[in-house]
């Protein structure tokens, strides 16, 4: 039977079952007697087994079958739930997940039999609940990296194409060095792709990378394990290059050797060689751990609530009715403007609703990324030997699909940061009289046009003084600067890339590993991140994300003859002020608004708006007070048009000329283009 058409459904459903198994196991660990949970797990394992069997994934079936046997024993009360058992079961889940990801990539489950796990399950069954050799449990299991014989020198697997050989030979002729290097990324590294990118980036200034394995695309998409290999042509020495690579933080190791010049090959030999190479490649593919590169065989899909689709369908039918209404009005002899306006209003209502519904389909609850966190914290707690508990709220807060896809890694990073560096060890907590179990909170909620996600711990907080000292020591700031910088400014240094690359800082301050990466990621999503911390009491990382990336509420204003849009989210108030109120501080224009001194920005001069020669400044001016964090500024404009929902469009690559003030453009109702001002960039 051809089951490939069911593959997508299989993958979706398996993911759901794995998630539900993982959730239920967490509950089971706390309440070993909960029969509902046990039944639920049994059912999930059973469905998994059935599905895997139908699809012909025998290894997966075998594993789930064994799991089901164990649960069956538990269900009938012949066996009790122990922590070790739960550990083994979690390993099973990991193994199933690996099968699943293999299936997603290649439509086959891979070659890993996961014997150790099967044996352990068997031992549990045989021994009636006392799993043998838990030490071995942690060992090879799901990772299955009996890699190539070359171990961490995977660059030896390189198969050079003809043009690459030519490049190598040419480099030798020019007296340049050619090195093949394998880079190992630290196991605890979360944003592997970003680290790899940094490696590439820093190497680019020292030479040309002519080859990489996996391909650059795969590395960018994070389709590699913990290492990747590159071949670089450079004028620098081997030590220098290795040094450059190791300078990137979270890089565990880099080894390599020079590549000798290739013997010149004639065309015929070359063709036979390519054949050999093809064979070699084919051999490699047979090896169990080689993940064949390339696009996944299954497209990503979203599950949409059928009700949402029904609403969409209804709206589309209304749209058709509205269109027919318009046709009949226009074809009737006396085109009455009233009928026309009525139809237009109807159409408007329908399109607004349609837009809303489509946006809703794109929205997903944040739960889809957060539900893997409890398990991660559980494992971290064991690994770090700290007692901690994760409390989550607002998991049903919805965000745009594109944001959801990207936000998982930064959040995971922050949580790990809190668990690893934020929370104190058990002893220190006892000394300080804090509750034995550390608390990490993950709160998500909607705030106007933004979604706020907070990661909060009750740990040590950030030691501002030690960050300050470290920054001076590192030369990021001078001592004089340090004197004048506020605590907040000092903490912001942690997000600077130059800061986090120094491992020492993170050891002492306990913060700073990869926060720059987190910040960059969040900023590309149009959000921002800030920290609140109190030494000894804990810290809170606050992430603000736009609800959707494409549509915002904006205030339309006029400057000169030009229309601009300002995002409503950044506007504090709108003031009508006589020009005489302008005061000067250090020859800069400010106003004193109800006790707050606000600097003024004349938009017409910032934007070089052309003025008629007979233009005279009015004696009252309109000031829009915008805020960015704690900073305020007043933008002077000529006229207000009003609030409007606008669709953000990019200005493209040509014209913007690195000008951050213009954040994009939008198309107004009359087809005219208005530019969107980024108030944040003005401040």
């Amino acid at each position: 039977m051809d089951v490939s058409q069911y593959l997508e459904i299989f993958i979706d459903e398996t993911k759901e079952h794995i998630q539900s198994l993982s959730d239920q196991l967490m509950i089971l660990e706390k309440e070993p007697e909960n029969t509902d949970t046990i039944n639920e797990i049994f059912r999930a394992a059973h469905s998994l087994k059935g599905m895997a069997g139908t699809m012909g994934f025998t290894r997966m079936q075998k594993l789930t079958h064994q799991m089901e046997n164990v649960f069956s024993e538990i269900r009938t009360g012949k066996m009790s739930v122990e922590a070790q058992l739960v550990d083994v079961l979690f390993q099973c889940l990991d193994a199933i997940e690996e099968y699943l990801s293999n299936i997603e990539q290649t439509a086959s489950e891979g070659e890993n039999d996961n014997e150790p796990i099967l044996n352990q399950l068997q031992a549990i069954l045989d021994g009636g609940g006392s799993p043998a050799a838990p030490a071995a449990a942690a060992a090879p299991t799901a990772t299955a990296a009996p890699a190539a014989d070359n171990g961490n020198r995977k660059y030896k697997d390189f198969v050079y194409a003809e043009f690459e050989k030519n490049a190598v030979n040419e480099a030798h002729n020019k007296n340049l060095n050619v090195f093949a290097i394998t880079v190992q990324v630290d196991e605890s590294c979360i944003l592997k792709a970003a680290r790899a990118f940094l490696v590439f980036k820093s190497l680019e200034s020292h030479g040309d990378i002519i080859k990489s394995n996996p391909s650059v695309q795969d590395i960018e998409d994070e389709r590699f394990d913990l290492d990747f290999s590159i071949c670089i042509i450079t004028s620098e020495s081997y030590e220098k290059i290795i040094g450059v690579i190791k300078n990137v933080s979270e890089i565990k190791d880099a080894v390599g050797e020079p590549v000798p010049a290739f013997a010149a090959v004639t065309q015929e030999v070359a063709s036979s060689k390519t054949e050999q190479k093809k064979e070699a490649v084919a051999d490699n593919k047979k090896a169990p751990d080689k993940k064949p590169a390339g696009k996944p065989v299954v497209n990503r899909s979203v599950r949409v609530d059928i009700e949402k689709l029904d609403v969409l369908m209804n709206l589309v039918s209304e749209l058709i009715i509205a269109k027919n209404g318009l046709i009949s009005v226009s074809s009737s002899d006396n085109v009455s403007s009233r009928g026309f306006t009525e139809q237009i209003e109807y159409l408007e209502r329908v399109t607004t609703n349609l837009h809303e519904s489509v946006m809703k389909v794109r929205m997903m609850p944040i739960e889809t990324v957060t539900n893997k966190f409890p398990r991660m914290i559980r494992e971290l707690a064991k690994k770090l030997d700290k007692k901690m508990e994760l409390y989550m709220s607002g998991e049903d807060t919805e965000l745009d699909r594109t944001v959801i896809d990207e936000i998982g890694d930064p959040l995971m990073h922050l949580l790990r940061n809190s668990a690893d560096h934020g929370l104190e060890s058990n002893e220190v907590r006892a000394q300080r009289g804090k509750p034995e179990v550390g608390t990490i909170e993950l709160n998500a909620y909607q705030d106007g046009n933004n979604v706020v996600i907070e990661v909060k711990d009750d740990g040590n907080g950030i030691d501002v003084e030690s960050v300050r000292n470290k920054a001076i020591e590192k030369g990021s700031i001078t001592e004089e600067q340090a004197e004048t910088m506020s605590d907040k400014e000092i903490i912001d240094l942690l997000f600077k890339p130059s800061f986090s690359t120094a491992k020492k800082v993170s050891d002492i301050s306990g913060r700073g590993v990869g926060l720059d990466v987190v910040k960059t990621k969040i900023e590309t999503l149009g959000g921002d991140i800030e920290v609140k911390t109190k030494l000894g009491e804990g810290s809170t990382f606050i992430i603000r994300l736009p609800l959707t990336l494409a549509i915002i509420q904006a205030l339309m204003v006029v400057v000169g003859d030009e229309k601009y849009a300002i995002s409503l989210g950044s506007i504090q108030t709108i003031e009508d002020i006589p020009v005489t109120d302008i005061k000067y501080v250090q020859s800069k224009e400010v106003i004193n608004l109800r006790g707050t001194v606000i600097p003024l920005i004349r938009l017409d001069s910032v934007l070089d708006v052309p003025r008629n020669e007979d233009y005279e400044a009015p004696d009252r001016m309109l000031v829009i007070v915008v805020k960015k964090g704690d900073k305020l500024a007043g933008l002077i404009i000529d006229e207000l048009i009003g609030q409007q929902e606008i669709v953000i469009k990019s200005l493209g690559k040509y014209i913007n000329n690195n000008n951050k003030v213009i954040g994009g453009a939008t198309i107004l109702g009359d087809g005219e283009v208005a530019l969107i001002l980024d108030a944040n960039a003005l401040l």
């Binding site: 030009e562 910032v606 934007l607 070089d608 708006v609 469009k649 990019s650 200005l651 493209g652 690559k653 040509y654 014209i655 913007n656 000329n657 690195n658 000008n659 003030v661 213009i662 453009a665 198309i667 087809g671 005219e672 283009v673 208005a674 530019l675």
Partner: protein, 158 residues
């Protein structure tokens, strides 16, 4: 034998436009569209030869002035003024304002005379050659579209 080569030689179509006193030829493979002049929204702080952006069927398209690019005095828009929407390879659309569109001509490679590159002349890189239009005995400067549109992108990349 020589005759067959002559016949086989491929002709490329060029759209001939006018800006200032000169005629310019644009390879049709780059031309996405030709539209009438419409309201252009100025973009502050952009490079001087960009006039702004327009809305073309819901898409925002940056508009460059060919006259300004070639340091000719600014144009006045007439009923003949057109915006040529170009699609450089692998890049986004961009519009170029020209005084008028004259005709479409076929040039084979032998009709186009390569220019000796003068490094001092910055504008030379925008012209890839000069075509001789034998029908009305005029010269057409063939625009190098990739170079012409690359500047803004490069400035952006820095």
């Amino acid at each position: 034998m020589e005759n067959t080569v002559e016949v086989m030689e491929e002709k490329v179509q060029y759209i001939v436009v006018k800006a200032g006193v000169e005629q310019y030829g644009i390879d049709v493979k780059y031309v996405d569209n030709i539209v009438r002049i419409q309201k252009i929204t100025r973009v502050p702080k952009s490079l001087p030869y960009y006039k702004g952006v327009i809305n073309l069927r819901g898409e925002i398209i940056p508009i460059m002035s060919l006259r300004k690019k070639f340091n000719i005095e600014d144009e006045e828009y007439t009923s003949k003024t057109r915006i040529i929407i170009l699609k450089p390879e692998q890049q986004e659309l961009i519009g170029v304002i020209v005084d008028r569109v004259n005709e479409v001509v076929n040039f084979s490679e032998s009709d186009i005379e390569k220019l000796s590159i003068d490094n001092k002349d910055e504008l030379a890189k925008y012209i890839s050659g000069v075509g001789k239009n034998n029908d009305n005995d005029t010269l057409v400067s063939i625009l190098n579209i990739e170079n012409l549109t690359a500047d803004g992108r490069d400035a952006q990349a820095q």
